[in-house]
């Protein structure tokens, strides 16, 4: 493991820049999934919770560590499920998609018209 604090600081700074670059390319239409997805990602504190649970000493530390694992799992699992559900709702115009009826056909025609108009 890397335990040198200077190296960790370098990683921190680089990660901040990478994060900024990657996230500034997310369109505003996906900002809610971005937030709930990044929410799930910080649930990785679960790894930290497991580490401290591993060396927790005595009742108080063990209880606190268990609480941390519980909370982190809720964060990670809940965040991932909600984000996946949400992203499943973002659908493009797909002419062949089942369900919808007349409005769907309208959408398909519009897609064709848009293509013709060079959009």
């Amino acid at each position: 493991m890397i335990t040198d604090s200077v190296t960790l600081l370098v990683i921190f700074v680089l990660a901040a820049f990478v994060g900024y670059e990657v996230i500034s390319k997310v369109p505003s239409i996906l900002h809610t999934p971005l937030m709930s997805g990044s929410n799930a990602i910080h649930g990785i504190i679960l790894a930290g919770a497991m580490v401290v649970a591993g060396y927790a000493h005595g009742t108080l530390q063990t209880i606190l560590a268990a609480v941390a694992v519980f909370l982190a799992t809720g964060n990670i699992v809940g965040g991932a499920v909600v984000t996946d559900r949400m992203l499943g709702m973002f659908k493009g115009r797909q002419p062949g998609r089942p369900g919808g009826g007349a409005a769907k056909e309208g959408g398909a025609e519009k897609a064709g018209a848009d293509k013709a108009a060079g959009r």
Binding site: T3, L30, T32, I44, I76, L87, K91
Partner: protein, 468 residues
């Protein structure tokens, strides 16, 4: 500093796998650049989390395995049904609570670290890392829980202010800093406890005075806090994956906070502290000049106008989400599309209760994402649009933000609906919007006002369009 990890996994393997997980997190976020790949991206992220969690589990000193397993299963059992069945309108409070839970976990992890190392004496630099994890985690936890309570309607969503609020918040902040310094100088449990309690109070203090329309900023900010708390934990535990993941989230939350405050045309301090200590700026603008005439239409008139247009842009705002009318506006769009009208949705960044919330609500109502237009794109199309139908939005379409330097909302980016040929406002009354600023567009000859509950009015429009 801490090498409590068992040696059954070589340190190199460990670092490699953590690096792999970190790369997966970055790829997951990168995939969110397009709605097409976004869902696969989430799964890449999940694989990353499984790798990181599994390797940690394997490598951690083999004690308390059962405790971890039971707590893990319990967490999953509670979270999955909650996440499965939550309504999309309730996403902001769901994000708030998961965010708070993450902050709480971060604070608890560093607390255990402190208690454990405290016995053998904790060095100053290590103590600083621990304090950051505890303090930011606690702020995020209490702030998010309060935000959850506000959004869920457990408590009032209106700003809560009292005399001397700024002073009280200042005192609490001083206590956090003081107790933190004391903890570093003299690492005793009591100092850490005081730091944690005062940090919890800071979280409450930040969220209390923030009102419903400002929640997009608030949620972004709390998200950034939890990310930073996790990164601080990464430093405290010398854990690479926590640092990378926490920092990514911190960057994401910070960027969204900035985007949201820009979209409101206000600075972050202004949003956080505006309600505190300010006498409410009275809505009665001097420019009103007594009674002004406006055109009020009935659903049949408006439906005719819509049905015989070529291009209609729906402009949904916070009020649409409040009225739960997203399904109805989509019905109206579909009725119009069936008549050959081209319908798009112009979406302001702060429409809804969190960044991008309106897009999710409309996606849930089966609007293809190609029809959801961001502000810039929508503004490009508005001059050639026949009718802009504004539902439950006001400030975000107020031309004063663009044209009147004296206006309090001047500088806030808006959707230029005044450039469309006709504008229809669905509103309850002539009351100005959240900012209390009068909207001159209401009195423009090209504007028609349709009064009533948004959902109700939209339903009437649907049947009128079908009959037209």
């Amino acid at each position: 500093m801490n090498s409590y990890l068992a040696v059954s996994v070589s340190p190199h393997t460990f670092t490699w796998l953590y690096l792999l997980a970190a790369v997966f997190f970055i790829l997951a976020l990168k995939a969110l650049s397009s709605p097409k790949q976004a869902r696969y991206g989430m799964w890449i992220g999940i694989v990353g989390m499984v790798i990181a969690a599994a390797i940690t589990w394997v490598a951690q000193k083999a004690s308390h395995d059962w405790v971890i397993a039971v707590a893990f299963v319990a967490g999953a059992v509670v979270a999955v049904p909650a996440a499965r069945f939550i309504q999309m309108t309730a996403i902001p409070q769901m994000v708030a609570i998961f965010n708070g839970v993450g902050g709480g976990a971060a604070a608890t992890v560093t607390t255990v670290e402190f208690l454990h190392d405290g016995a053998s004496g904790i060095g100053p630099s290590h103590a600083v890392e621990v304090i950051f994890g505890v303090a930011i985690g606690c702020i995020s936890f209490s702030g998010s829980m309060l935000a959850f309570a506000k959004l869920q309607g457990i408590m009032t969503g209106t700003p809560i202010t009292y005399r001397g609020q700024q002073f009280a918040n200042g005192i609490v902040l001083v206590v956090v800093v003081g107790a933190s310094v004391a903890t570093v100088a003299d690492p005793r449990d009591i100092w850490l406890l005081i730091t944690a309690l005062a940090a919890l109070a800071v979280g409450v203090g930040i969220v209390l005075p923030i009102g419903g329309a400002d929640t997009p900023v608030l949620i972004s900010l709390l998200n950034a806090f939890t990310g930073l708390a996790v990164a601080a934990d990464g430093f405290a535990l010398d854990n690479l994956v926590l640092i990378v993941a926490g920092t990514l989230v911190g960057a994401s939350g910070s960027l969204l906070t900035k985007l949201m405050s820009d979209a409101m045309g206000r600075s972050l301090p202004n949003i956080l502290f505006a309600a505190v200590g300010s006498t409410v700026t009275a809505g009665a603008g001097p420019g009103a000049g007594g009674e002004r005439s406006y055109r009020s239409g009935d659903p049949t008139d408006v439906a005719t106008l819509l049905a015989y247009s070529h291009r209609v842009m729906m402009v949904p705002g916070y009020g649409l989400a409040v009225a739960q009318a997203q399904q109805t506006i989509v019905e109206l769009a579909k009725a119009l599309e069936a008549r050959g009208v081209r319908v798009t949705y112009g979406i302001h960044p702060v429409a809804g209760r969190m960044p991008g919330h309106m897009n999710v609500l409309l996606a849930e109502a089966n609007v293809p994402y190609e029809e959801l237009e961001e502000m810039e794109q929508a503004n490009g199309e508005l001059p050639t649009t026949d009718v802009a139908l504004v539902v439950g939005a006001n400030d975000v379409v107020n031309p004063a933000a663009r044209d009147a330097p004296s206006s309090p909302i001047y500088g806030m980016p808006i959707l230029n609906v005044d450039q469309a040929e006709h504008v229809v406002f669905l509103k309850r009354s002539m009351r100005p919007g959240f900012s209390g600023v009068e909207n001159d567009l209401f009195y423009d000859p090209k504007t028609v006002m349709l009064f009533g509950d948004a959902k109700d009015s939209l339903a009437k429009l649907v049947s009128a369009v079908k009959a037209a």
